[in-house]
Symmetry: C2
């Protein structure tokens, strides 16, 4: 689990740079970022940090998927965020994390020690602005998810999750292709359940139902083929088309 591709100290080589917090940096700013950054890798299933632990770095996801999870005293658990490549992890100005962070798949993070990063935030408006934008995007996503968790039925929840992952993994062109498209689901049934506020049995049943109804086809447990993206979004219950036209 190394990340040999990114071992050189050059943000320009980073495949997710154009979407990450450094996307609008000047060369000298990039050089400073390079000087304080380092990579960390985790295997699927490994913890990154536990709720309440000190976290002395912030990071951008480079490869893989990380989850943010909260747990109740009796063990009930809710995934409250899914971080995909280019997403930002950590909170400047706070010493400890409030929720568990786990590697869902094999994961590579581009890390910055928190103190120098906070200093950079103070001196470099670009970064702060970009971070604000990404935080506002995350807030929008969290609010969209509140509708999913609070009001959608199991089938709609599953469809919403599949549509969201499909949108992040596929191009607009692929989504609207008449032949459909396919993608790899990075989550187990249990992780899907944790994200959707369901049990894994319900997730399994609804996946089977969507398969029976021709909304999706499954090749193995993880590979999902969507013959018609519009039919999938129609199952989400949302009143817009879920962002393809918008």
């Amino acid at each position: 689990m190394n990340a040999p591709v990114f071992k050189n100290r050059d943000c320009g080589s980073c495949p997710i740079r154009h979407q990450a917090i450094c996307s609008r940096c000047e060369p000298d700013e990039l050089a400073y970022l390079d000087s304080i950054k380092y990579y960390r890798s985790y295997e699927a299933g490994q913890p990154v940090v536990w709720a309440g632990d000190p976290m002395d770095f912030v990071a951008t996801v480079v490869v893989g998927v990380a989850s943010l999870t909260q747990t109740m005293e009796d063990g009930r658990t809710q995934m409250i965020g899914l971080l995909l490549p280019s997403d930002f992890l950590g909170r400047p100005g706070r010493e400890t994390v409030r929720y568990d962070v786990n590697a869902v798949t094999d994961l590579t993070l581009c890390c910055f020690r928190r103190k120098p990063f906070e200093e950079l935030l103070r001196t470099t408006p670009h970064i702060g602005q970009r971070l604000l934008e990404k935080t506002l995007d995350e807030l929008d996503a969290a609010r969209e998810w509140m509708l999913v968790l609070g009001r959608k039925r199991a089938r709609e929840k599953i469809a919403s999750l599949l549509a969201i992952i499909a949108r992040r993994e596929s191009s607009l062109q692929q989504l609207s292709s008449p032949d459909g498209f396919e993608f790899l689901l990075p989550l187990t049934r249990e992780a899907m359940a944790d994200y959707l506020g369901l049990t894994l049995e319900t997730v399994s049943r609804q996946m089977s139902a969507l398969r029976r109804d021709g909304i999706i086809r499954l090749e193995g447990n993880r590979r999902v083929r969507v013959p018609d993206y519009a039919r999938l979004t129609a199952e989400t219950g949302d009143d817009s088309d879920g962002g393809v036209a918008a």
Copy 2:
């Protein structure tokens, strides 16, 4: 529905200034803010903006409560945020809003036209930093709410809502008083249901149950007396004490 107290052009008179985005501004920055700000007032129940509408201002809540609400195509509705005094409304850099904004109680906003505010954001790091902090706080709150919506039972949801409002409305000292404390619930049973992902009947039943069990006392429909804050937080299912000690 005017806001005579705030009619003078002086942010220093604003009772929520110390928590709002302008809390760290220099005198000259405050003067600029003063020059572009204006107040708007709404009566309880009035819409502020509808989802999809253009919104040419951003604002801070000065008095009252505003709600952010999303609606599905069949009319199911989910409140995705509750804005109390000092909370920020609007998104710099975006022309339209994604969800309905309503005045839950009589409401006064301190508004800034969006373009000048964005300009200010570019030139005044304080404001951007403060806005980032407030956005990160909102994101934390949204994520906490995802746990409420996804995993808590009806009784725990109600207790969580009461505890959150109690914390925002009362001082630490009041919360830990041996005589208990009381507060005014700014929401109807239906609004509570919309926020909690429940029906109003379930809200009503669980409020009655909490009353029967002595967790709360009700004087009328809105006035809530909490004889023992610890007993209330014990009903939320959270593993921490909900923030009093923390």
